[in-house]
């Protein structure tokens, strides 16, 4: 299927979070990176997580080279992720709550 060819989701995200420049983002529920690819170029550093290891592997394999420098991925959930408090400027719950 062709998903959101009009880019409505990306526009809504830009309206809600207009200033991602230089921001550290935690994306929860990244899947194979469909949404990440659409905003990550505007962000500083992105940690994208998803419990589906196969989806994470697909994301890693297909990640555009321009994003590799500042997007990292990890298989896991909020419950399994050990992170220090106050680590992120943006937590993005991507279709995952």
């Amino acid at each position: 299927m062709e998903l959101d060819p009009e880019g409505v989701e990306t526009a809504a995200l830009a309206a809600i979070a207009p200033d991602l420049h230089g921001r550290r983002v935690l994306e929860v529920g990244c899947g194979s990176g469909r949404l990440t690819r659409r905003y990550a170029a505007r962000a500083g550093e992105v940690l994208a997580i998803d419990p589906d290891e196969a989806a994470i592997a697909t994301f890693r394999t297909g990640m555009p080279s321009a994003l590799r420098a500042h997007v990292s991925t990890q298989a896991g959930t909020l419950a399994t992720l050990g992170l220090p408090d106050g680590s992120f400027d943006v937590v993005l719950l991507a279709w995952s709550l």
Partner: protein, 145 residues
């Protein structure tokens, strides 16, 4: 779900934001895009009251309301929009709902109606329309958990 929001609260910097993007509890619809306009063929339903996307999204709404009531976040802005998935064949729609939307079903009657409508016009496309909410929330500090 509430625990996920608690962790998000902890991991955010004081001036950070939580962005919550997900479908609303409104059902998704199967539509046919014709030259004359959009025709609704049917809707995607939960397989039961407890299992399915609509029930799941309603539970997420409840969890978010709890996080707001506990003073972890304040809501700053909320928008809604239609998220569209396009397909050329009924089988694509059926397989997508079966494979991607856990606990959801789409009636054969709706699929048949869509197929009949699509057959009336070359180039007619099928689409699933889902209502999505996106919210920006600001963490509140010193509330305790």
């Amino acid at each position: 779900m509430v625990d996920a929001l608690r962790r998000a609260h902890e991991w955010l910097r004081p001036a950070g934001i939580l962005v919550d993007i997900r479908p609303t509890a409104e059902p998704a619809y199967l539509e046919v895009q014709l030259a004359s306009g959009i025709v609704v063929a049917g809707r995607v339903s939960d397989i039961s009251d407890q299992a399915g996307p609509n029930a799941r999204h309603a539970r997420a709404d409840t969890a978010l309301a709890m996080a707001l009531n506990r003073g972890w976040f304040v809501s700053e802005r909320h928008l809604e929009f239609s998220f569209l998935r396009y397909a050329d064949r009924i089988a694509e729609v059926r397989n997508h709902v079966r494979g991607e939307w856990m606990g959801a079903r789409i009636d054969d009657e709706a699929l048949d109606r869509a197929a009949r409508l699509q057959a009336t016009e070359p180039g007619a496309r099928l689409r699933l329309r889902e209502q999505i909410g996106i919210g920006r929330l600001r963490p509140v500090r010193d509330t305790g958990h």
